[in-house]
Amino acid sequence: MVKLSGITKSEVLVGLLVAVSVGIGVVALVLFDTTGGKGSGLDKDFIYDIGDKVKIDPNLIFYTESSVPIVTGFKKSHAIAIDANGTIYAAGDKAVRLFESSGNSLGEIQLDSNPRCITVSKDGNIYIGMKNHVLVYDANKKHLASWPHLNSDAVLTSIAVLKNDIFVADAGNRIVLRYDTNGKLLSRIGGKDNDRNIPGFVIPSPYFDLAIADDGLLRVVNPGRHRIEAYTFDGDLEFWWGIYSPNIEGFCGCCNPVNFVILEDGSFVTAEKGLVRVKVYDIDGNFTAVVAGPEQLVKSHEAEICQIPANCQAGGFDLAVDNKQQILILDTIKNVIRTFAKTR
């Protein structure tokens, strides 16, 4: 065996092999990502990207947040309403909580199960939509009535009152129910009827809102068709407006808007899920302004819509308008009520 300065050739070879192995190991550690930190490495065709729709032209935003958000204290909130005196009603975990506009608590109504929608009549009666029935309380939070339960498919998502008529949106059965103040079911509105030229409601997810406009017509969202439809109280479909578009003038995704309110001048304020946007349309349904977009509502200064499925699914923000025409937005992710005032 040849010796070089006391080291055999085989020892040199082993040393070299070890050095090469260590080198390969280091290169592998650097190049190969075992923690996923470098991302999937997929081509952009495999990445879902609607980031450009998240950013909204600041010139279109006519509203700014005008007060500190009201913390509802709910873990899961569903709906808000506001009465003629400015008292705010928030419906959430087995309760309805009342707040002053400043955020001070005015007490609560405890319930046996989760309320899904709420409205307050001019005489102060509180109508609470549960999953499949309606509860009525007076202005002093005294229980007045429990209306008969609907079938097990019923999912009540909106309620509106005008004088002696109460309209309830049932997303589960895709129908609007007209009641009198005693809880007597008078008629069903909006079911598919070819003879009356009514296409029927398309409601893929449990968001189905309605309101009564000053023109005496009932406005109902048909979310799967991306439009707001106008019905007479007798159930005739008069007209509709709304288009699908991820761009600012339209309603995005499979099924939007999820909620809306009507302003004093007849304009509509709409809330969308997915791309969480609150926008204003004039009385004819033409887009006029943005109240707030994803960057204002979901995560400030971040172009993200939602990160985990639970948050994505919770994007059905509810709306109310106070007597100063400020827009109240129930953030169902953070469970707070945010107020936006028109500044332009």
Binding site: S40, P246, C252, P309
Partner: protein, 186 residues
Amino acid sequence: MTIEKKSRRKFLKDGLWGTCLTCLAVVAGAFAFKKRDDEKVWQLDPNKCVACGNCATYCVLEESAVKCVHAYAMCGYCDLCTGFFEPEPRELDTGAENQLCPTGAIKRSFIEDPYYEYTIDEPLCIGCGKCVEGCVAFGNGSLFLQVRHDRCLNCNECSIAAACPSQAFKRVSADEPYLIKKAGHT
């Protein structure tokens, strides 16, 4: 007909044998049950999954063991399915330019106006989760990813689990190897 009389000794012997066999059966049954209960497989929790795309590229298999599955009970059967269509489709039809899935792994079929059914063509699905993101962002989240156990090698150290940014991977019982999403309105 005669009745054979058993001696006391034979009776005790038979009884002892019977008892031993019964005990053996109980022990073997319990052991088998415990072993079955102890068998765990990898699965990803659809409520934690963020559809990052890592499932498609980190699996040791050339074609990932993770595929998209569809919870039909949750689906809205939307005409404008955001898991099927590009965010701005030119038309609501099956033209390749309108489809979100880069491999065309989702099939759309007409049910009745305006409802459509969406099914996964599994051999084409690579588990990238692009459709899952579209469905979760706007729809009901009925499209989601699952480890398919007809493909998964059940490695001790799952390389996708190690690369999962939301820690959605976990070990589940082999008796219930899938975590299927369910509809629910509270």
